[in-house]
């Protein structure tokens, strides 16, 4: 357990340069255990790039990431998963040819140990596989997808695929889950159900969540703390109430609002 002083996830000076462009510029984030932490900011602020660096999909140019005091720098994604990190993707990436149940069981990969027993269906293998299946069903039940367990994952409606990604991430038995725009493309009813689901993850399962999200009502009512990025830099950090009043945040979102209004897009209502 991390003490209140030392965060579960500590990101320090995280920087990523793409040729001349600095996508993420010296970002610090401290996520405390048992909280929901929001990473917000206008489009192109570097949120997903941060996620990719934290989960090990992308190597940072500079900076450090540690989970519960253990440095993750240089570790490939599968090692970070074993240490308790899980994530979902902004553009849905379920394994669409596989069944819903198999998707969730794939998330358990690092927690299963079947070896040569696979070839002779050893009692150990069968017990493990049986338990994995039962656990996967529990997780599907938790996200409300149990009825679709044997469907092809690619056939699920959009919102269900997002929930499947959450179940698959939970199957990794994580301590921290990175959620990349979990509400994207959901209708208000689905978003409301998602809000309840994410709260239960924190309150019933004691999980720590770091989420990127554009749905501001969701962010404001769910998150315990927020970190705001703009043009790759951290411009604010604090409780939702503090961030909402922060002049730099208001300026960033209003600026983005004007730019997006010209492009015909309707932005989130962050700066109200």
């Amino acid at each position: 357990m991390s003490s209140p002083a030392s965060p579960l996830l500590a990101v320090e000076g995280l920087t990523r340069r793409f040729q001349g462009l600095v996508a993420v510029d010296g970002v610090d984030v401290a996520v405390r255990e048992g909280t929901v932490h929001g990473l917000i900011g206008p489009n192109g602020a570097g949120k997903t790039t941060c996620f990719n660096m934290i989960s090990g999909v992308l190597a940072p140019s500079e900076g450090r990431v540690s989970l519960d005091g253990r440095p993750l720098d240089g570790l490939p994604p599968y090692r970070r998963t074993a240490l308790g990190l899980a994530r979902t993707f902004q553009n849905i990436r379920v394994f669409s040819e596989m069944t819903v149940l198999e998707n969730v069981m794939t998330g358990m990969h690092a927690r299963l140990s079947a070896g040569l027993g696979i070839f002779w269906r050893s009692p150990g293998f069968r017990a493990e596989e049986h338990a994995a299946k039962a656990r996967a069903r529990d997780l599907l039940d938790f996200v409300g997808l149990l009825a679709a367990a044997n469907h092809r994952a690619g056939d699920l409606p959009y919102g269900d695929q997002r929930r499947l990604e959450i179940a698959r991430a939970l199957a990794c038995e994580p301590r921290l889950v990175l959620l990349d725009e979990p509400a994207a493309g959901m209708n208000p009813a689905e978003t409301h159900a998602l809000l309840g689901l994410l709260r239960r993850l924190r309150d019933e399962r004691g999980l720590t969540l770091l989420l990127v999200e554009h749905d501001m009502p969701l962010v404001m009512s769910l998150c315990d703390r927020l970190t705001v990025l703009n043009f790759g830099k951290r411009i604010a950090d604090g409780t939702p109430a503090e961030v909402r009043r922060d002049p730099a945040v208001i300026a960033a979102y209003l600026g983005a609002q004007q730019a997006e209004a010209q492009a015909g897009a309707v932005p989130a209502e962050a700066a109200r």
């Binding site: 989960s55 090990g56 999909v57 490939p76 994604p77 599968y78 998963t81 074993a82 899980a86 994530r87 993707f89 990436r93 394994f95 669409s96 040819e97 596989m98 069944t99 149940l101 198999e102 069981m105 794939t106 998330g107 358990m108 990969h109 690092a110 927690r111 299963l112 079947a114 696979i118 070839f119 269906r121 293998f125 069968r126 596989e129 994995a132 299946k133 698959r168 990794c172």
Partner: protein
């Protein structure tokens, strides 16, 4: 009854052998495709296995089991060497590297006088035969079915569908890629050794790029949803030219047409059925 079967076997034995050997080769390329990689080195691995096994048997008189073990080991080591630098990268690097491997092995076989050079190696004693070929094929089919229905099979399919997501789910990508390639090379080597010991002759021309493409086409035609599919593809593509023999001059044309139509209208293969990935 038994006599008729015996007659049938003696008439068609080379075809029967070829179907089994090509089935093993189809499985060997399936293993690599199943983790989302592309190997065009199966013919080279097969050739290395054939030459290793045949040379040991002919020049040193080793027992068949020893020749087989060596024919699996040498290509596997070669796969480690080729895979080392290429499998850390994603994309088509393995395909390109294995094409290069095929060219190199071809030149070595062609110029290696000890192994017969361009004339090839003849007088290989008959060993193994139909039982060894189909026994191996059966063991591999059962083995891969069991692997598919486990955490390993799930990880493999996840890699094929979305490698980055599979990595985030905890799959050790470089290790899976490397294991798949090494196992695949060993299998192709075994197929080469089995085939060399039923055909009495091997030559450098048998393991070129065309053979690599032919082996790949078994899996493409059959499909890779289950281990049975590529074996079925191999059987069809081996039988087809023989079945079409009455067409005489039109044979190759019709043969090609059937393959093109199959790929066009059955992009998931002739047997698209997908094996469950739970044990």
């Amino acid at each position: 009854m038994w006599e008729a079967l015996d007659d049938f076997y003696w008439t068609y034995q080379s075809l029967i052998h070829a179907i089994g050997v090509n089935g093993i080769l189809a499985l060997s390329v399936y293993v690599v495709l199943a983790v989302g990689q592309l190997s065009l080195g199966q013919a080279a691995f097969m050739g290395v296995g054939a030459y290793t096994g045949a040379l040991l048997t002919v020049k040193f008189g080793t027992p068949f089991a020893v020749s087989m073990a060596a024919a699996a080991t040498v290509p596997a080591l070669l796969a480690l060497v080729v895979g080392g630098p290429t499998l850390r990268l994603t994309g088509v690097y393995l395909a390109i590297a294995t094409i290069g491997l095929g060219e190199i092995t071809h030149i070595v076989f062609l110029n290696w006088d000890y192994a017969g050079g361009a004339l090839g190696l003849s007088g290989i004693p008959e060993r193994g035969g139909v039982w060894a070929i189909y026994g191996t094929l059966a063991v591999l089919l059962v083995g891969f079915t069991l692997v598919a229905r486990s955490r390993v099979g799930r990880a493999m399919e996840a890699m094929r569908e979305d490698e980055a997501a599979a990595g985030v789910m905890g799959v050790n990508l470089p290790r899976y890629r490397m294991t798949a390639l090494v196992v695949s090379a060993a299998m192709a080597g075994i197929a080469g050794c089995l085939s060399a010991h039923v055909s009495s002759f091997i030559g450098p021309g048998e393991y070129g790029f065309e053979s690599a493409v032919r082996i790949l086409s078994y899996a493409l035609l059959g499909g890779i949803g289950s281990p049975v599919a590529p074996v079925l593809g191999a059987a069809i593509l081996t039988l087809l030219p023989e079945v079409l023999r009455p067409l005489a001059d039109f044979r190759l044309m019709v043969n090609g047409l059937i393959i093109v139509l199959a790929v066009l209208f059955m992009p998931r293969g002739i047997l698209p059925w997908r094996i469950a990935r739970t044990g």
